[in-house]
């Protein structure tokens, strides 16, 4: 029996859907290009505040259309977060499985690395690496992937250990299955729900991380743009042209909030501990 979804979840899902939709096809409807400048229309306020009609959300310091900027920034932010989450999840989960399978020294070393990363502020690691290796899109996405892998590793190790102790896993071993078969065909499907929930929790965090780095000027570089970069570019004009920073900020807020609400619901639905308590 499924309970009806609460209104907040339906709203969150709808909002996210609309945002993703805009990110994918939004640029078709914007009259101006992302990099199209109009130096005669610099720092114009949004149309509803008395700005020119053709710029509904105003323009930035070199007269670029905010709508076009936001659509492009949104797409980049979501792509980076998606790639980062996927890399982190796959990498971290694999490490967790390896630690749980080999136990002993392998586990100790891997978990020590996990603890090491968990005890350092990630933004520090990110700044150092970016400073050393210079900025590139590849490195940036890898960095996003590195963020949060340790939570997957820790989580995966725990759930795999407890799943492997279940009689069904032992029965599969007794049938003569190779470990890879046990882990991919039996254990992974049974622990996937916990990992999927973790996915919904790290996704907003990665968006925030991307925002902070881009805000500091170490993230996405022009001519590319992201929500964080737009937000950062508006910091000198906060008192005169607040819309440059506020609109991307609001978008980030809405995305992370919606994602968190969905994640919470997913956890309630999928968490076997909670499920047992409800039935």
């Amino acid at each position: 029996m499924k309970k009806r979804l609460p209104v907040s979840v339906i709203i969150a899902a709808t909002v996210l859907g609309v945002i993703i939709f805009i990110a994918i096809i939004g640029n078709v409807f914007t009259p101006y290009g992302v990099t199209e400048q109009n130096l005669l229309a610099r720092l114009k306020p949004p149309a509803f505040l008395g700005g020119p009609e053709e710029y509904p959300l105003g323009t930035d310091r070199i007269g670029r259309d905010m709508v076009a900027r936001l659509v492009a920034g949104l797409r980049m932010s979501l792509l980076v977060a998606l790639a980062g989450t996927a890399i982190g999840a796959i990498f971290g989960t694999t490490i967790g499985f390896i630690a749980a399978h080999f136990r002993g020294a392998v586990e100790e070393i891997l978990m020590m690395i996990v603890d090491f990363q968990a005890s350092l502020p990630f933004i520090l690691i990110a700044l150092t690496l970016l400073a050393f290796f210079g900025n590139s899109m590849t490195l940036f996405i890898i960095l996003m992937g590195l963020f949060g892998w340790e939570t997957y590793a820790r989580l995966a190790r725990g759930v795999v250990l407890s799943a492997a102790a279940q009689p069904y896993a032992k029965a599969v071993v007794a049938l003569g299955a190779r470990p890879i078969r046990l882990y991919t065909k039996h254990i992974l499907p049974n622990v996937a729900s916990a990992l999927i929930v973790q996915l919904t929790l790290t996704f907003p965090q990665i968006i925030l991380l991307e925002t902070s780095l881009s805000f500091l000027g170490l993230g996405i570089q022009s001519p590319n743009t992201s929500l964080g970069q737009i937000l950062g570019s508006g910091r000198d004009y906060l008192s005169t042209a607040w819309w440059i920073s506020v609109f991307p900020g609001m978008l980030i807020f809405i995305i992370t909030l919606s994602m968190s609400i969905l994640g919470d619901t997913l956890r309630d639905r999928l968490d076997p501990m909670l499920k047992q308590r409800n039935t």
């Binding site: 029996m1 279940q166 009689p167 069904y168 896993a169 032992k170 029965a171 599969v172 071993v173 007794a174 049938l175 003569g176 299955a177 190779r178 078969r181 065909k185 039996h186 499907p189 049974n190």
Partner: protein, 540 residues
């Protein structure tokens, strides 16, 4: 006639919409007298526990309010306001549960927890409470009551915990004690002691005891009267002697017939060559205490086992005797520290990697809990076909084998497409047996494979195992804590204690003429021995 102590009249407890039946308990009427032990017997889902919960006011909140009457001391408990009811529960009505260790709070000392009852319900001083609790502990025959007062729950054994629970329940001299399967989680020898304690309570305190159990052996030991329940309805109620020896209802007769009995038969003839030879198996568990204190447990200590084709060897022992560890060593789910294992003439103990995986087809295992033994996300057909597929059979052929096996274990071949959660416990155990047999092993290990099942289902699964053995002639290592179950299926029985086999022999010899004190103790603790002797004598 005077009023009975407790009268349950037309009690019905509904189930939430969408359940498999509308009522958990339907139109139940029974009475309990002073100084009487009424045993309520039934299988899983018979509603026996829910009737007790309804009486105590402990029904889960998702169930609708029970209807009918529960009259105690002239008042209908179901109609009382919750606050009044709470006052009665705990003082005049007390209850004990199946898992005593789960009821005790692990972070408080035993003395504080038991004393709490007095603090809540009486105005006694600390010293007086202490005295009372010590006296209670003496009454339930806890050794060293002073020490136990200061102990934490994890420092006590299961039997001691249950005694503490009983002492707590007795604290305020209740008129009624409701016991919900209080001995099911305990070893037989401990169970025998708790049952004796129940009899003492009835004798010394005149307490009315409502004793819920699934075990007719236990019933035969202690019951004055017996109520048999099925699907939430009362099937039969009457004096113990009558229900046990001259049952009226067909269902009661079925249940009684399914109760395993100590059967001193001899080993079967014509057994084949040895399929399992294990020599000097040893497994030591080393634990690290909290402050580096080392703990060493000899789980299996130099054990030799030989098993022949078509033979069943029972491995009997109480919890912690090492019987399951031995089985897991034999099937190499854990690696023994020492010893040699030969299965079907080939070395098994020393194999590694691919050679070990290849050899695993020769030995299979059926676990205790059918609910966790199957991958919940794998269809039944895939589960059974998995072994053959791993060992190189084509998927389509393996699925045909799986369907045939399902039919052989008494399920529809179409069950192959369904998932484990759609089956009952007994059906799942059949699926597990089919999965194990799909590889045509020469040795089958049944690790408490029927312990989690109801008696009637238990009997069916035992028959199935025996039948399959006749067809496929595998050797079977049958692990159980229940001598009665072992006696039904085993050619030889080995009694294990503290990692060693203390005595081994055919049931005919072992039951009639046990050599070791421990074997004698185990035999004496088997519940319902005397009753079954009587029953057998009467039936000729």
């Amino acid at each position: 006639m005077t009023e009975p102590l407790l009268a349950i009249r037309n009690l019905s407890v509904g189930l939430p919409a969408g359940s498999d039946r509308p009522f958990a308990v339907e139109d139940l009427s029974l009475t309990l007298e002073k100084g009487e032990i009424l045993c309520v017997v039934g299988e899983t889902g018979s509603g026996k526990s829910l009737s007790a919960f309804a009486t105590m006011g402990l029904l889960p909140t998702n169930l609708p309010k029970p209807t009918g009457e529960v009259v105690f001391e002239g008042r209908n408990l179901l109609a009382l306001p919750p606050s009044e009811r709470r006052k009665l529960a705990g003082s005049r009505l007390a209850m004990i549960f199946q898992e005593p260790a789960a009821v005790l709070n692990p972070v408080y000392r035993i003395g504080e927890q038991v004393g709490e009852t007095f603090q809540l319900h009486t105005g006694l001083s600390k010293a007086e409470i202490r005295e009372k609790v010590t006296a209670l502990f003496r009454e339930v025959r806890l050794p060293n009551p002073e020490e136990i007062l200061r102990a934490y729950p994890h420092q006590l054994s299961g039997g001691q915990c249950q005694r503490v629970m009983i002492a707590t329940a007795l604290a305020l001299e209740p008129a009624i004690l409701i016991a919900d399967e209080p001995t099911t989680a305990l070893d037989v020898t401990t169970q025998a002691q708790i049952l004796r304690l129940m009899l003492d309570l009835r004798e010394n305190r005149d307490t009315g005891i409502l004793f819920i159990t699934h075990d007719f052996g236990v019933v035969a030991e202690i019951a004055d009267r017996v109520a048999v329940m099925r699907h939430g309805r009362l099937v039969e109620i009457g004096p113990a002697e009558q229900v046990l020896n001259h049952p009226q209802a067909d269902y009661t007769r079925e249940l009684l017939a399914a109760v395993p009995k100590l059967d001193p038969h001899a080993s079967r003839e014509g057994l084949g060559e040895p399929v399992l030879e294990a020599r000097g198996i040893r497994k030591i568990f080393r634990g690290q205490g909290f402050l580096g204190k080392k703990r060493v447990v000899n789980a299996v200590d130099q054990v030799d086992v030989t098993l022949r084709r078509g033979e069943t060897l029972g491995l009997v022992g109480e919890s912690g005797s090492g019987k399951s560890t031995l089985a897991q060593c034999v099937i190499r789910l854990i690696d023994p520290d020492d010893g040699a294992i030969t299965i079907a003439g080939g070395n098994f103990g020393g194999l590694k990697g691919n050679a070990l995986r290849e050899a695993r087809r020769r030995v299979q295992i059926v676990f205790q809990d059918p609910y966790t033994a199957l991958d919940p996300r794998q269809s039944v057909g895939d589960a059974i076909a998995e072994g053959p597929v791993i060992h190189g059979k084509k998927k389509s052929e393996a699925m045909t084998t799986a369907r045939n096996l399902l039919a052989a274990v008494g399920l529809e071949p179409s069950a192959a497409d369904r998932f484990p959660h759609e089956f009952s416990g007994g059906q799942r155990q059949r699926i597990c047996i089919a999965r194990a047999l799909a590889l045509e092993p020469q040795l089958l290990i049944a690790d408490e494979s029927v312990s989690a099942l109801d008696v009637s289902v238990q009997a069916q699964i035992l028959d199935l195992l025996a039948d399959m053995q006749k067809r496929h002639q595998f050797g079977m290592l049958f692990i159980t804590h229940d001598l009665r179950v072992a006696s039904r299926i085993c050619d030889r029985i080995a009694v294990m204690r503290q990692g060693k086999i203390v005595e081994e022999g055919e049931p005919a010899r072992l039951f009639v003429d046990p050599q070791q004190d421990y074997t004698k103790e185990l035999l004496a603790a088997v519940p319902g021995r005397d009753w079954q002797h009587v029953a057998r004598a009467e039936n000729g």
